[in-house]
C-alpha cells in the first residue's frame, strides 16, 4: 500500500461526480451548451484520473482496453446508423424528421441517439489514446 491515501480517497470521492457531470452535460445538451463531445471528454477524464491514481492495471481491469477500442467505431456506427435509418424511412441522411411518426419526436430522439454515439466515440477515443501512450513499452 503506497502512501497516497489522500489522493485515493479524494479521487474516489470525485470520480462519481465527474461521471455524473458528464451525464448532465450529455442530457442537458438539448437546452444549453453541451452534448456528446464535451460529455465524452469529461467521462474519459474520469477514467484517466482513475488510471493515474490507481494504476494502469487496475484501470484496465475496470475499463478493459478491448472495450474502449470497440467504443470508438461503435459510437460512429450508432451515429451513422441513425442517419441510415432516416434514409431508410425516406428522409435525407441525418434528417430526423423521418425517424419517428411525429417529426418533433423524431428530432428529439434523433439528436439524442446521435449524441449518445458521439459520447461513446469521444470517450472511447480519449481513453484509447491515453492507454496507447501510457502502455507503450510496458507490455
Amino acid at each position: 500500500m503506497r502512501l497516497d491515501v489522500i489522493l485515493r480517497v479524494s479521487a474516489k470521492l470525485m470520480i462519481p461526480f465527474i461521471m455524473l457531470f458528464a451525464i448532465y452535460v450529455q442530457f442537458h445538451g438539448h437546452y444549453s451548451p453541451g452534448g456528446g463531445f464535451q460529455a465524452g471528454v469529461i467521462a474519459a477524464a474520469a477514467v484517466i484520473l482513475y488510471a493515474i491514481v490507481f494504476g494502469m492495471r487496475e484501470a484496465q481491469r475496470v475499463v478493459p482496453p478491448g472495450v474502449v477500442e470497440a467504443m470508438v467505431p461503435l459510437g460512429v456506427v450508432i451515429y451513422a446508423g441513425t442517419g441510415v435509418l432516416n434514409m431508410i424511412s425516406g428522409g435525407h441522411y441525418l434528417d430526423y424528421d423521418f425517424l419517428l411518426a411525429d417529426p418533433v419526436q423524431g428530432q428529439y430522439w434523433g439528436v439524442f441517439v446521435v449524441e449518445v454515439g458521439v459520447l461513446v466515440t469521444v470517450a472511447g477515443a480519449m481513453v484509447t489514446i491515453f492507454y496507447a501512450f501510457a502502455m507503450r513499452g510496458r507490455s
Binding site: 437546452y31 444549453s32 451548451p33 513499452g137
Partner: protein, 132 residues
C-alpha cells in the same frame, strides 16, 4: 481612449486586436514548425498554428451582448453559431492529428532512438546511401 481617438491609425490597429492575436500565434507557430528540430516541439508549433486559425473563425462570430442562438422572445441579438460548430470539428481534427503525430514520434523514437529530426533524417539518408 483620447489617445486612440486622436490617432486613427492606432485606433484601426487596436480595433482589430483579435486579428493581431491571430497573426502573432500563426507566425510563431509556423516559425516553430520550420525552425525546431525536436519533433515534439514541431508538433506544438503545428498545434499553435492550427489554434490561430480557430481564433480567426471564432472571433468574428462573437457579438458583444448577444446570446446563444436559441429562439426566445426575450432576446433579439444572437451570436453566429456556425463558427463554433466548425471550430469544434476543427479542434477534433486537430486532436486527432496531434495524437497521430505523437504516436508516430513514439514509434520513431523506438526505431531510431531519437526524436531530433536532424538526427533521424541523417539516419534515413545513411540507410538510403547504403542501399545504393
Amino acid at each position: 481612449m483620447d489617445l486612440l481617438e486622436s490617432y486613427p491609425l492606432l485606433q484601426t490597429i487596436a480595433e482589430r486586436y483579435n486579428t493581431w492575436a491571430v497573426i502573432l500565434l500563426m507566425v510563431s507557430g509556423l516559425y516553430i514548425v520550420v525552425a525546431k528540430s525536436n519533433m515534439i516541439k514541431t508538433l506544438i508549433g503545428m498545434a499553435l498554428f492550427q489554434t490561430s486559425v480557430y481564433l480567426l473563425y471564432l472571433s468574428p462570430g462573437k457579438i458583444i451582448g448577444a446570446t446563444p442562438p436559441i429562439t426566445d422572445t426575450a432576446f433579439a441579438v444572437y451570436s453566429n453559431p456556425l463558427p463554433h460548430v466548425l471550430i469544434l470539428t476543427a479542434i477534433v481534427v486537430g486532436v486527432a492529428t496531434l495524437a497521430m503525430g505523437l504516436a508516430l514520434i513514439v514509434r520513431i523514437n523506438e526505431a531510431y532512438g531519437s526524436i531530433e529530426e536532424d538526427e533521424v533524417v541523417d539516419l534515413v539518408d545513411r540507410q538510403d546511401k547504403a542501399e545504393e
